[in-house]
Point group: C2
């Protein structure tokens, strides 16, 4: 039995109900912490569920920022400094990650407020999250306001990756399930995962096969 | 123990290895089938992992299309007809969904080729996937080429939603886990999920609490 909503019914929904409903529709979402630091040295950390793969060569990621909602400082810091980090949210600290969405003041660091640790690499200004098992450093490439609803598309080039060794497979696939990376649904639901299978590259007139997860360890 | 890659090392990776690695970094991804129909009536179905929430009012979703890769017909059909559907990939048909990425000819319908059924609603040209427990109908709003790597950002307004009733919670959250919606990681790994918790709205100086999943059934 289906519940249906048409365009008029969607527009008439009570605001908070509509926000919960529409946020649930895209499917499972990535859970990442964006790490930045202002030009005058205040670090910032914000959970985002809108990070997506954009391309492998060059290695690009996109994310959507809502200027009116919590991660205001994130966008300011990226514009000021040109760099940011993305850090997978793990099961052991998902509540601290969620807490970064509270409205802390610009002079407060979410790292301190929620109890996560800053981690730095040489010659890169933005802070990583020490607790995260998959850390990515990015140089911002484009900041594009989307006129349709005043969100902002931020595109960055990946210039640094750190992954726990036991999750990297011989073909380059990262077993993010082994990292305890969580998934999000809706605004506030956190999930662990269980692999069904890796599937072979699909070809016309050839049956799909299930792939082995692959040997672990850096081989390229 | 971490494996690290810097910018030079990333650019020197063997191509297929780099594609697997970079596609793994964003975290868990949504798994949706895009349904379209050409102006002369050939239906098309393509799996996409790049669908993301863009806004609730108006209700907007974004997705990234790679013109050079498989879903060529998808973009052509959206441009020609202005409409498309998104359909959550469920555990019971994830292999058929994956098979849609094979390079079928423009006059072949992936629905027929992989064995999924078309479903239509009145006055909406694009086909839904009958087997999907969460179906979304969209009117295209913007098609924006991203000059940085020749991908295309497609933004659509949600004008129809159908959800299995037992998954819709009283606050508007959709329990997509109850729908057996799968998540993707990397290029080819499919996952089911297990909820850790729903968390309360984060506030400064207030502890986060775990929320009940909520009563099911349409209440707004």
């Amino acid at each position: 039995m289906n519940v249906e909503f048409n365009k008029a019914q969607i527009s008439e929904l009570e605001k908070r109900y509509r926000v919960q409903l529409i946020n649930s529709l895209s499917g499972f979402k990535s859970a990442n912490l964006v790490g930045t630091k202002s030009a005058d040295g205040v670090t910032n950390l914000a959970i985002v569920s809108s990070v997506f793969h954009l391309g492998a060569s060059p290695a690009l990621m996109g994310m959507i920022i809502r200027p009116d909602s919590v991660p205001r400082d994130t966008l300011t810091n990226i514009k000021e400094t040109g760099v940011y980090t993305l850090n997978h949210v793990g099961r052991s600290f998902y509540k601290q990650a969620h807490q970064t969405s509270a409205r802390y003041k610009p002079n407060q660091s979410e790292f301190n407020e929620v109890g996560l640790d800053e981690y730095y690499i040489d010659d890169f200004y933005a802070p990583f999250v020490s607790q995260s098992a998959l850390k990515i450093g990015l140089n911002v490439q484009q900041i594009t306001p989307l006129s349709i609803n005043n969100t902002v598309l931020v595109i960055g080039e990946i210039i640094y990756i750190a992954i726990e060794e036991n999750a990297l497979c011989e073909d380059g696939y990262v077993d993010i399930e082994a990292l305890d990376t969580v998934a999000l649904s809706g605004l506030d639901s956190y999930h662990t995962s269980a692999r069904i299978a890796r599937l072979s590259y699909a070809k016309v007139n050839e049956p799909i096969t299930e792939l082995a997860i692959g040997k672990k360890g850096k081989t390229a």
